[in-house]
């Protein structure tokens, strides 16, 4: 029963969602609304579960003095730094209003820290491109040329360099062409492949053929 009940539930919910997509009328629209509400509630619980789990794992690591346990202190400190002012010192439900303690931490700690992490990509991308982007083969050369055109075409300097060229041949326009044709064709091929994969996997789950998510062997 531990496997059968989840399998029946998966199949039932899957079929309800498929049918209501094509027949958006009673009783399927009511069932879809109900199931969507349930899932939103489960999602909300999952956030709590995730937050509490993070706290538990980190505190456990500090207690046991596991590998790199010092980082866990920073994690717990960061968690409490934003959670306590958010819950208790930011005006209750209005904690996101400008001027609250939560807003202050969000703007002056969280935003600069996360922006810094992301901004470091610019430096690593430059270094990695210099080391790895070599015209070793015909395909790599084509990729390199496309990258040059898109990188220059996506900034105004590209048009400045090529403004003497006739309309339609300037770097921004060639970059647009690369994005709109070769890129789109490749993206479509990937998306169709992913889509077919999702459909087949979903059908296997709904029909109970795929059982690995239930735990144990198939």
């Amino acid at each position: 029963m531990r496997r059968e009940i989840p399998m029946i539930l998966t199949g039932f919910v899957g079929f309800v969602y498929i049918i209501q997509f094509f027949v958006p009328h009673a009783p399927f629209d009511i069932m879809e609304g109900l199931l969507t509400d349930w899932m939103l509630i489960i999602f909300a619980f999952a956030i709590w579960l995730g937050a509490l789990n993070l706290l538990k794992v980190s505190l456990d690591k500090i207690y046991r003095k596991g590998k790199d346990w010092q980082y866990s202190i920073v994690t717990v400190f960061g968690f409490l730094l934003i959670a306590i002012p958010g819950f208790f010192f930011s005006g209750g439900r209005r904690f996101q209003d400008p001027g609250t303690a939560f807003d202050y931490i969000y703007q002056n700690v969280y935003t600069p820290l996360s922006a810094t992490m992301f901004a470091m990509l610019a430096f690593f991308v430059a270094s990695a491109s210099y080391r790895a982007f070599r015209a070793r083969t015909k395909e790599a050369t084509m990729l390199l040329l496309a990258a040059f055109v898109v990188m220059l075409g996506r900034v105004p300097v590209g048009d400045m360099i090529t403004q003497w060229l006739p309309e339609g041949y300037r770097l921004s326009q060639v970059a647009d062409w690369i994005m709109n044709y070769p890129n789109m064709a490749g993206q479509r091929a990937i998306m169709i492949g992913i889509g077919l994969g999702i459909v087949s996997t979903s059908l296997r789950l709904i029909l109970g053929i795929e059982r690995s998510h239930l735990g144990g062997e198939e």
């Binding site: 996101q96 922006a115 390199l144 900034v155």
Partner: protein, 278 residues
């Protein structure tokens, strides 16, 4: 010499990139910004809206993506407030509604809006974040109020004046999604557009934009702005110049720096390849 060029210390590259990014912030060089058709379509879609039309903003990003997406948000919000469009804000990312608040604070401080600052529940409402990813969009297709029972301040949605007559996507004239990943533009296309036939324009990070082009060309997405260039184009179209335009110079210099180092690396590679074979 070429061997040395082949193994430049990465710290030297970092310094060049830093200079390329920082120096242009102090320069005052105006650049011509060409408008791409996909960004132009967003503006065309907004231009078709009459005063009082309802625009739903989905803020699906967090601070790391703000340098690219925040200027887009500010530009389109300014356009909406200037043209008396009603703005409804939600976020599928927890940080989204906070980013919306930051954008509105910037607009409130803008001297151009000194006489007509955006007023809550008259010009805009912020329904806040709701967990559930694409299921939130699915829920909104049935009922906004059951999906968002309260706004971000805790006020019951039913008590908001702007929510009168707004029940689902059929009451929304335009959706503008600002997306940095999942859940984002793809989910809005799959559920709001394909399922509920909403009109959707999107601003995406430069990294994500190439994946979204097929939706634009299939007509599922009305317009698409990608990266900082997309933000600068939007600013030019709506006539409110901001950080998108300002930071384009830094991006130009940074791209040139990356290309410069790739060329150096390739010259050194080809110059030393023959020697290695010998």
């Amino acid at each position: 010499m070429f061997e040395k060029l082949l193994s430049i210390d990465r710290r030297i590259i970092f310094i060049f990139v830093a200079v390329a990014l920082i120096l242009p912030l102090f320069l005052n060089i105006s650049q011509y910004i060409a408008i791409s058709p996909e960004v132009s379509k967003i503006y065309d879609g907004l231009e078709e809206l009459k005063p009082g039309s309802k625009v739903l903003f989905a803020f699906d990003y967090d601070p790391p993506s703000a340098p690219e997406l925040q200027p887009m948000a500010e530009a389109v919000l300014k356009y909406c407030f200037k043209n008396k469009l009603k703005v409804y804000i939600i976020g599928l990312w927890p940080q989204g509604p906070m980013q919306a608040n930051l954008a509105i604070e910037v607009i409130r401080d803008d001297p151009q809006f000194a006489d007509t600052p955006p007023v809550y529940d008259q010009n805009y409402v912020n329904l806040g974040f709701m967990s559930g990813n694409e299921l939130v969009i699915q829920g909104m297709g049935s009922s906004f109020q059951s999906t968002f029972p309260r706004d971000y301040q805790g006020t019951p949605t039913a008590d908001l004046e702007m929510m009168n007559g707004v029940n689902n996507f059929s009451n929304i004239d335009y959706i503008f999604n600002l997306s940095a990943g999942y859940p984002g533009t793809v989910e809005w296309v799959l559920f709001a557009v394909d399922r509920f036939h909403a009109t959707l324009g999107a601003g995406n990070t430069a990294v994500q934009a190439p994946q979204i082009y097929p939706y634009f060309h299939a007509g599922q997405l009305q317009g698409l702005a990608g990266g900082l260039k997309g933000a600068a184009e939007l600013e030019k179209l709506v006539g409110f110049y901001g950080k998108g335009t300002k930071f384009m110079l830094s991006q130009s210099f940074a791209h040139l720096t990356v290309i410069f180092f790739i060329i150096i690396g390739n010259i050194a590679y080809f110059a030393t390849r023959g020697k290695k074979k010998q």
